[in-house]
Symmetry: C2
Subunit: 461 residues, 2 copies
């Protein structure tokens, strides 16, 4: 009930979150009476540096968008008033009654995906399907980048046989508010335990966590007084930040205060300095209390920290997580792969130099052997004798949602299961091995045939 | 009128866009009756790689946030139901009546800033000022990164004596919807001419532009037919994408269609391949029509393109702009620099290893000589005999807005003016020279005195 209000707010105005050319093309399709059924495929062409896989995330937001998309009167008024290519009454009236009537297939959130594999396929009249490009790429790319970054941290901890908690502390460094919210969500899919962001906790029903900031400590006359005040309010929930002045002395003061007030505090937090060395010293002081490490944490730092036998019960990654800082972009595209000709949906592709797109609707198969993923096969939808298990599920059928969206927990479990089946060398956080994605004979020969036809028609490129 | 609705939607729920610890600290301040007047300073510690300056942007969003911040009933209900450190009735009732009563000083948008210089200073009871940390850092860091990236592209074009248009094509690759909107805004401050994002155009009254996508071309039987259809609808506004099959042939087809329909088309767009070479070939074909270049455009690519005498009338940067991809993060912090003791606001700092914060409220002076910025001086607010011109302006006084927010045009002009006065070697896009920021004698000796006091109290760090 209260949740609905917020979600409808947050979803507001997404109809106009599109590039102007989508709308001008739509008007062009309408005006020229050219509205074939088409299929758009959303995929990325290459893996970012040091990435052996991407964890798909963000499908729930795509579903919400497609289900709720409408143009408000104020939005239509804005379009009517735009200078440049004018929008006609007829087109604005079309938008006023806009409704998605198409089909969508997608890989479930938490699935690992590789270059050229469709995350989403939209089949609909081009006048509808064209509109979605900007929003779909925007939501799926970012959440997938963050879910991947998070999965790499969780996997690094698992590889070390450890089970430290991971909490997203990054909202302040995210690119805007939507990124702060969606990063928290995607990190959870990727294996985090929660977030510090209260709005994200509310929007997605995520566990929220927090400690204290340097400002708390500084605002009191002495560090000790500040700890006493905090523990007097929060008791056993207290996690005291001990590095405002001197980390080791701060840890001693924290435990002295815990003793004095006879409270078994939850732990301390370290946010600066040589964390390996400091954490070992602090561990001797705080005993069974927790140690949260939160300065410049990413999968590389976690690996080094654990290898060097630093002591922590939890990590609070921030900037690196929410911006996927070493790989802040994914080259996701939304490409026309099939178009209706003479009443039939036929495969289509473009020839632009260096950018090949496999034509047609796809089948994405994953082949397991001995409980491990061995390879994927990208084939033609409906192609016979493809090996492995289909990864694409039906999400919308003729505009109706036919997919039961999994809970975030279920997507998180799916990610854990998929990662466990992925060979270690593909999961490596540096210079990962390339996972094998084969192209089926059918898709290969269809691609070559269409390329030859186009080359004959337009010349070699 | 219609604008207001959208803005209030977009501003909704920002009260909870905060880290849980801000709220738990606030409740702690309330419960212990510890609510001193404090000053928080928002600044970054270091410049990202290849950055000689940062263009400040996002203040308008901070003002809107502080002016409209309220906790809705549903938000308070959510907080009341949270597990972990419970929120009291007293605290929730405080939030219910929350109102900002403090002072804010800031540098106007479009101002160039350097490490340790305050972008914003908030002076208020700590129970208020604590809340804002997450949102303020989030909005100001991202917009400043993008305004800077944009300014570097505009400046590169200016250095070459050219005047190509720059339009943000990046929404799909931005980190979420808020980033897409705010990147368009910040790019405009940085010297862009507009955006392709319709929602951003509406939200910030920005010029919106668009061309056509490969899907338009592919959806027709032939490229020629697709161009004919587009020009029949959009006439002289048409910018035809010519690289779907073969760029040079595509350009010829575009001009043949323009001839056939007797339309002086606006231009063509190139989106792949060797853009320098292709643009020279295409220029011979399209004559006076425009050439828009939109593949992997950033300041480095623009510099190389112009140095190699590529031909373009406009650029459409995307990914690199909206993610500031070579420098996706800024290490912005919001630090307590002064706290009330015995009724007086006194400078404060922390000692954490390697992270020095200059204490106290600041004066930020910029010294000009012969129309060029020579150096900045960071001093104590009210310190006598500081040279140069004060950059910090009063924004809020006792909770009231006392600053007339400049138009985006004015902020854009300010950025242009500031950049022109900044020495060329500081503006260099690679390995820029360090701009001189001096610390006043007063601030230097105050910093040392407080450090000595703290070191005596807490030990050397």
């Amino acid at each position: 009930m209260s949740r609905e209000k917020f979600e409808s707010d947050s979803a507001s105005n997404h109809a106009l979150f599109t590039d102007l050319y989508e709308l001008t093309m739509m008007q062009g399709y309408l005006e020229t009476g050219h509205n074939p059924q088409v299929t758009f495929s959303l995929f990325f062409r290459t893996l970012p540096q040091n990435r052996g896989y991407i964890v798909a995330a963000g499908l729930a937001q795509v579903v919400e968008y497609l289900e709720t998309l409408t143009f408000a009167d104020e939005e239509l008024d804005y379009l009517a008033g735009l200078e440049g290519p004018a929008f006609s009454e007829e087109f604005l009236s079309y938008l006023d009654g806009f409704e998605f009537t198409g089909d969508v297939r997608a890989v479930p959130e938490g699935t690992v995906v590789f270059p050229n594999e469709p995350l989403v396929e939209v089949t609909a009249p081009i006048l509808e399907a064209q509109l979605f490009e900007t929003f779909l790429i925007n939501q799926l790319s970012f959440q997938s980048l963050v879910a991947t970054k998070a999965a790499r941290m969780r996997d690094t901890i698992r590889e070390h046989g450890d089970g430290q908690s991971l909490v997203d502390f990054g909202s302040r460094r995210a690119h805007g508010t939507d990124a702060g919210l969606k990063a928290a969500r995607a990190a959870y899919v990727g294996g985090f335990d929660g977030t510090s962001n209260v709005a994200a906790g509310r929007a997605f029903d995520l566990p929220v966590f927090g400690t204290m900031a340097h400002s708390w400590v500084q605002s009191f006359e002495t560090e000790r007084e500040s700890f006493e005040a905090f523990v007097s309010v929060y008791g056993e929930d207290s996690v005291l930040l001990v590095d405002t002045y001197d980390t080791v002395e701060g840890a001693k003061t924290a435990m002295a205060v815990a003793d004095e007030l006879d409270v078994d505090i939850a732990g301390v937090r370290l946010d600066s300095g040589d964390l390996v060395s400091l954490s070992k010293q602090v561990a001797k002081i705080v005993g069974d209390s927790g140690i949260v490490v939160s300065s410049s944490v990413d999968e590389y730092a976690i690996a080094e920290f654990l290898t060097s036998e630093g002591v922590a019960t939890g990590f609070g990654p921030g900037t690196a997580l929410v911006t996927s800082s070493d790989a802040p972009t994914l080259d996701t595209v939304y490409k026309l792969v099939a178009v209706e000709r003479d009443g039939e949906l036929r495969p289509s592709m473009k020839l632009s130099t260096g950018k090949v797109t496999y034509p047609g609707q796809k089948s994405l198969r994953r082949v397991e052997r001995d409980g491990q993923f061995e390879r994927d096969v990208l084939g033609i939808r409906g192609e016979e004798r493809l090996p492995g298990e289909e990864q694409l599920v039906e999400v919308f059928d003729a505009g109706s949602l036919v997919y039961s969206l999994p809970s975030l927990e279920a997507s998180r479990d799916r990610r854990a299961d998929q990662l466990q089946k992925l060979p270690g060398e593909v999961r490596a956080i540096r210079d990962p091995a390339e996972y094998r994605v084969g192209i089926s004979d059918g898709l290969q020969s269809m691609t070559e045939r269409i390329r030859d036809e186009l080359t004959e028609q337009y010349g070699a490129n």
